[in-house]
Symmetry: D2
Subunit: 284 residues, 4 copies
């Protein structure tokens, strides 16, 4: 049984759902999941479908061509079609904090994540033992003012060599370059340790403590040129009080960061996220 | 513009989505909302659609007939079709607690609820002033051991006279009769003041306090013959601690009850709920 | 039985707790509640005590004098002592939104709030019927550019005439003057419809929608000169998604606003809040 | 600087707080933390204090003796005094699930937990590699009907040999014997994968799915003779919907279990928990 996932967005138009579902039926597909959304302010239509094809000689590439000819131009669609037998490849970038890395690798090991991790890149060597214990290749690529361009070049080479599909910044403490962002648009997932847009930038727990908030948060978003301003994928919060000092906020925040980042990775991997106007549509 | 909402469930079968969407398109409808769910254990398919028909001579009844002939028998569907220009009529049953009543009427007054409230029934006279201040007819129907059957008869007459579509038990402290339940199957919404199935029955806050739970809850569900065991529509919780005595739990619980019941009413009114196997599918 | 509540903060010093508890014991008091906090960064000590005095000739004023002489100067304390038989008087300021007003008055009516409401002030006449139905005096004091000073004068006269202790801005859509703020420092409670410090200022739900956040919030804080920047008393949040348009956010937000504001009022009324460095200590 | 933590509970009596604080002051201690609670239904008084003693020749044992003579008999106290320089020793019992083990060891490694882990016991060999990678001794003690008593004996010997203070059942899939429970009363922490008291016993996620709940939970409690009925230390919940099948519930539940268990361990380790009447007082 072949299974594909289709993501489409385009200007909203009458009969668009019927046109798509009809096209799939005619081509031998059985729709097993459909969910849609219309942004009525912007008049944009979004749809996510999963369809099964029982024919032995089904080819995703052939289907893509048919789909393109029949529908894409007619409705001026932005579209992606994924075959569900292909696991996406995710590179992990880390620095010195280990909690998100432990969490991701623990989930990976227990089979919770439907993806492959070809390697981990870090600007420090501290977390190599963790990578080793999980038997994931670890590349130490130091980043200094002078070596920044070189480092980036090495990163890009590794990403290309291993056909990486998306990148997770698991508390990677370096600004990612424009070149990387433009090559991996909406494919670099960051975890920010605050409830964005509150406390953009460095040291958000310090800012939260100073402001005396009663709730702290964590935000996973796609990386864009503007710092901490990319499309939000997932957020969560935890209650705090005056009894929590900065270290307590950081400790509580670690738990948020782990879960929020893991959920964002799952949503991305399961093709549940669509991006437009710097926002996301998250299908259930 | 005519707008209808269609709810269907049936055994899962190939091409069912395409068949439905195609039928709507052929009959001049434009689908503006579609969401579906498959219970893979039970092999049951659920779908909710909203469709607009621009034709001046569109008739819901005619469409229902066409739909029935074309699809219902073929797929052995359980189905409902609602015209969105008809506001459902909701009767409110109360006893002496006023918080849910205030909350519902406040929302009703501010236009938050798309429904009509033909009347309030109570087995006590205490809340009549509230009904009066909101200008909703209030019927005092006392219930004692001896008058129970009579009271029930009066309730049924009022419900029929005003063509009531569904009933909300806003902390109504009487067991509803089998007769009423069978006449309003999945149309009587209750609010239970615990996180069901924990603390079924009377005095759940007392039980929660005794057990020393750290979280209390509230559950809105459809009323069935078995006490507090009907299909759950909505639940929510609040954190508590040893510092909360029973009165504190009751006070905190009131806020939960109000919001959980209001959400359940909205979900029901917006035709977002489907019931099967004593569970609900809640569309977003 | 006389009961008092004591709130103290001062520089942290050895033996301060023993000094206070000893003083109370010597003067015939039995401590029934004690909670304390030390801000170790600022080296500030906070304590909240409730103490009962069984003596028939106990006088709060006499106790205050004794307390002042024995401890206040020695430890350079900032302190307040409240007699628990005095209900604080709360004025409500509203404009046109009714949800917070309904909520507060509903709680007031059911005995949930230990306070008196001498009057409601509004710059519009729209909510007078609600005030009337709850039998609370309602003063319509319009505010325009030209009448602002006059209006403020009328407000102050009413506040003084009725010996108001604190003010709640229940979605009052006017900037409160410096004069009022300085007269009621840390005694004016506002409800802001966002998770501060995110989305300061007007139309926070519009900003939240534009940013595509997955969680919205509400914040109750004391009013200070800087807009939406005063000490935070209480915050809460609700999960949202791309399916929620601005109206949905506003509706969901109303529920948050009601509960967050009600909790802030209760904390203030029960003398649970201490303010320092533009932050709060909230005792449980 | 010597620091001790004192936990006391006894019948509530006048002047008890002053008596304790005075005793500490007289003996050269400076109280740096005090929190108290009174269960007014049961008339029980609880207090937790942290006190610092600067004297070079301070001895915890001598202080305990003084304390006992001065206060314990007079007030009929149940009391414990801990020196904060002693890290408690925690044994971990596991079976085949690895998520809680990974989580605990990750936190342990990063210095988040103030305890020592002398060893891990398991009735299976599956998780030995994880223990090895964290360099914690791992004892494989199989449990079958016939070997149950022997196994228990081996467990007890290890616990005694290493002076273990408390035990964590990190998804240990065996019923713990009465002998172990009576030796470690309120010192065996279990994680149950439901919101107790809902879904006691095995397969709670299956029961939750069948009941159609909208929220799942996790509960950490001390182990008592009655299954899943011991004093609750910590609970948390997560929202679910009809779209979640049993596997999804289990996956979501894993995240809850990890955090709830970790929080319970921290509360226990930091001497924040007092147990009475099968409930807990949790100090902040």
């Amino acid at each position: 049984m072949n299974k594909i996932t289709i993501l489409i967005h385009c200007k909203d138009r009458p009969n668009i759902i019927a046109s798509i579902t009809n096209f799939i039926a005619i081509n031998g597909g059985n729709i097993v999941y459909i969910d849609q959304h219309v942004d009525r302010e912007q008049d944009i239509f979004f749809i996510r479908l999963e369809s099964e094809f029982s024919s032995a000689d089904f080819s995703v590439d052939a289907f893509k061509t048919l789909f393109k000819n029949a529908l894409v131009e007619k409705f001026n669609m932005k579209w992606r079609i994924y075959s569900s037998d292909r696991k996406p490849k995710m590179a992990i970038f880390v620095s010195k904090y280990d909690h998100c890395l432990y969490d991701i690798l623990g989930r990976y090991n227990s089979g919770e994540l439907h993806l492959e991790i070809p390697f981990i890149i870090s600007n420090h060597n501290d977390l190599k033992p963790i990578a080793d214990s999980f038997k994931i290749p670890f590349y130490h690529i130091p980043v200094t003012k002078d070596t920044k361009e070189d480092a980036e070049q090495k990163q890009l080479e590794l990403l290309e060599k291993f056909n990486v599909n998306f990148i997770v910044l698991a508390r990677y403490m370096q600004i990612v370059s424009s070149k990387l962002i433009s090559k991996y648009t909406n494919k670099i997932i960051n975890i920010h340790h605050s409830f964005l847009p509150a406390f953009v930038g460095a040291k958000p727990y310090h800012s939260a403590h100073k402001r005396g908030v009663k709730i702290i948060g964590s935000t996973s978003h796609y990386v864009t040129e503007e710092l901490d301003a990319g499309p939000i994928i997932e957020q969560d919060v935890a209650y705090v009080s005056h009894t929590h000092n900065i270290e307590d906020l950081i400790a509580k925040g670690r738990d948020l960061e782990k879960i929020v980042l893991a959920n964002a990775i799952k949503l991305h991997t399961n093709r549940k996220v669509m991006v437009y106007n710097n926002k996301t549509v998250i299908f259930s």
